[in-house]
């Protein structure tokens, strides 16, 4: 059994190659099912691998995936956690350039917008954007939606979301001292931020 599995993992496929029938397999990453004939085709170049179904699931089909070679660069999806650098802070919104999606860095630039009502979970009408972010801050945020034509909508309305790294006016990396404040280790100056709870 293990021998058969290993042989299968090594099989190299290219887009359009037949991987199996939808009646016997499920299409995973890098594969798709044709609606016309129920055949599963590869959509990427890579190695074909079979993932057995979880033992408790009703569906006893294995999942077939194509992985191991190049996939396109990371693209933000609603629900993914991103890291972004704040570029502009306005009265109602803040713009940020997304630099990381989940654990992957993005190859191309994507812009995100944090609206006033998405900064924190409580007292959302009393948020002052300028007391939450500064240009240059690195924030952790959740992608709410694909947003409008310009940018993705981001949210920091969770304890673990918000500013994770910020530089003070003196140039030091600031240390969080409360949910709303960060302090510069060089000058002792306290600046307001929407601070993220970073797990150690």
């Amino acid at each position: 059994m293990t021998m058969a599995m290993e042989a299968e993992i090594q099989e190299l496929v290219t887009p359009g190659q037949v991987l199996g029938k939808a009646s016997q397999l499920k299409a995973g990453k890098g594969a798709y099912v044709s609606t016309e004939n129920g055949t599963i085709y590869a959509s990427l170049t890579g190695f074909r691998s079979l993932i057995p179904p979880p033992s408790d699931s009703v569906d006893q089909r294995s999942t077939v995936e194509v992985t191991g070679h190049k996939a396109h660069g990371a693209v933000p999806q609603p629900g993914s956690i991103v890291f972004a650098r704040v570029t502009k802070v306005m009265a109602r919104t803040a713009s940020a350039d997304i630099v990381c999606v989940d654990s992957k860095s993005v190859r191309e630039k994507f812009t995100g917008i944090i609206r006033q009502q998405d900064v924190r979970a409580t007292e959302i009408d009393k948020v002052d954007m300028h007391l939450s972010f500064r240009p240059g801050d690195i924030i952790r945020a959740l992608v709410l939606s694909l947003g409008d034509a310009r940018a993705y909508y981001l949210s920091t309305a969770k304890n673990e979301l918000g500013v994770v790294s910020a530089e003070s006016a003196a140039g030091g990396t600031m240390v969080p001292i409360s949910w709303t404040e960060m302090q510069c280790p060089l000058t002792g100056q306290v600046e307001p931020r929407k601070v993220a709870k970073v797990e150690a």
Binding site: L12, T14, P15, G16, G30, Y32, H72, E108, K109, A149
Partner: protein, 255 residues
């Protein structure tokens, strides 16, 4: 460059079954093509991926004297002026270098070829996989030696696969010229200049679907059928060459 291909088959020709059906009219049998090819013989093809290091994916194709380079960028953010869309967008651009043709001129963008490349490729990309973003395909014809569009399309398909863009299948494209009573496959510039009609097919070889068909000149239905069969046969052969090119890159990386 053609010598470096190693184990990859460098030529492709339509399947023997299709070839048997054709009879070259005796009156024209002594007529030879300028490059001494058979009427149903394609030019040797050399394909390589990863030609441009700064692009997300790229490919270089050389079919006889026709040399093209295609780079793919993205998925990246659409231009600001564009409207929101749920699916991804495809942006194509075909340009010629100033030294691509024998008459040295200005390197230029070719709007017509760009839109034809877009048509040929849009059916093969799974655009739903990258909403709101766009993929840019830039093709540069280094040397124009005839059948430029089919070479650009096939090369672009390789570049997309190299970029890791989700595809329904690869696309292979082949054209046929009608000269008098004869068909010549994969015509060179000289043949294209005195052709009576031409037919180009872009198809997904594994799914057996056509994404684009361009016919120009006067054709009768039986002749179109015959030419299409010829093209489809050649497309499936070319598809095999393209697949082995993609596979070679991965095996080379592993070693």
């Amino acid at each position: 460059m053609a010598g470096k291909s190693g184990s990859t088959p460098t030529t492709y020709s339509p399947s023997p079954a299709t070839r048997k059906k054709k009879r070259i009219p005796i009156a024209d049998a002594d007529w030879v093509r300028p490059d001494n090819r058979g009427f149903y013989q394609c030019r040797p093809a050399y394909l390589r991926t990863g030609a441009v290091s700064t692009a997300a994916g790229s490919a270089y194709a050389e079919f006889g004297n026709t040399k093209v380079i295609v780079s793919v960028f993205g998925p990246r953010e659409s231009k600001k002026a564009m409207m929101y869309s749920d699916t991804g967008r495809l942006n194509c651009n075909v340009s010629y270098t100033s030294f691509a043709t024998p008459n040295r001129g200005q390197g230029s963008d070719n709007k017509e070829l760009s839109s034809m490349l877009h048509k040929a490729l849009e059916g093969v990309i799974i655009l739903e996989s990258f909403p709101k973003t766009c993929v840019d395909v830039f093709a540069l014809v280094l040397e124009s030696g005839g059948s430029d569009l089919p070479v650009v399309i096939s090369c672009a398909s390789l570049a997309l696969a190299d970029a890791g863009i989700l595809l329904y299948d690869l696309v292979a494209s082949v054209s046929v010229s009608c000269i008098g009573k004869n068909f010549v496959i994969d015509p060179i510039s000289e043949e294209e200049s005195y052709q009576d009609g031409s037919l180009m097919i872009t198809c997904m070889p594994s799914r057996n679907e056509v994404t684009q068909l361009i016919v120009s000149g006067g054709w009768s239905t039986p002749k179109i059928n015959e030419a299409m069969e010829l093209c489809l046969g050649a497309c499936s052969k070319l598809g095999e060459v393209m697949r082995s090119c993609l596979k070679d890159v991965v095996t080379d990386l592993k070693e």
